[in-house]
Symmetry: C3
């Protein structure tokens, strides 16, 4: 078993799930492509997807590079916090964008730890 | 030869090509940065680029991780379908955003297969 | 020391730094999520972040794949030009979006070189 690869692939699947929700909101609120505005709930779903895109682009290399230097289980466990944080972020953001702080922190923090762990590993070894 | 790396780099080049098309549309329709709206054809080119960005962020790790567990040629061949699907997606979207379904499916399907193949590999081996 | 990993992680950190600047501009100019328009300076910061996202998604795989075929120090040095180019790009764009060409070229050029170097390596070896 390669737990880091599993976490990486689950993070991608979660992102695509958020994207599917945007597609559904597009249909539900009658927002025709290429428009990305027109209904508050569509815009929330879209912003969640975009923010997750931004986070994922940093999370994946941080996860994989940290995994080249540190124990697989520890790196994967930190990555799992990201997955939970993102799920919470979407849930909170859809209810009220002003309440997105906890989920956001639980995404940014594990990524920051993995970035620093990877940097220490890449410098020291 | 490393066919998976070739497909990965071609997917990045294709994405940058779509980005160059957005730059050209920006000049052609007089949309000055930072605006991203103002002309239907510019907005289509921009949405194609953004959607390709979303897809690429999932496709690349799925391709590379699947390649760690399955035969190179098979993984690269599935990846090549993504490249063709994206080219079709852009072509269709620029003609009529409502007709983008085939190209979209031919991008999402190979990525979904690679995600599942990678997940099975990462769990089983 | 693994200089390519260091450059990759620094590129991610730079991107997150640009993202933090967007968050700050959001507060400063009173742009409430999910809105991404409303003040010229916020829109500039947002466009810098989005353009960096587009570049990073291509830069990271190009850097890592080129690093599989060519000397670490050379690949990392080309990657370092990207980091400097992006810093310049943001500086120029915030001052005047029309003056973003130099920084943009210093990001696109190293990525293009890495893409071609990776492609040559993946085909020839």
């Amino acid at each position: 078993m390669h737990p880091i690869h599993i976490v990486a692939l689950l993070a991608v699947m979660q992102f695509f799930y958020f994207g599917a929700k945007v597609g559904r909101a597009r249909a539900q609120y009658g927002i025709k492509a290429p428009a990305v505005t027109g209904h508050e709930m569509f815009e929330r779903a879209y912003r969640v997807q975009m923010n997750t895109l931004e986070q994922l682009v940093g999370f994946l290399p941080a996860l994989l590079i940290a995994g080249a230097y540190w124990p697989q289980a520890a790196v994967a466990a930190i990555g799992a916090v990201y997955l939970i944080g993102r799920a919470l972020y979407r849930h909170q953001y859809m209810q009220d964008p002003a309440r997105r702080a906890t989920g956001f922190a639980l995404t940014v923090l594990p990524t920051a730890i993995l970035l620093l762990a990877g940097l220490v590993g890449a410098i020291a070894r």
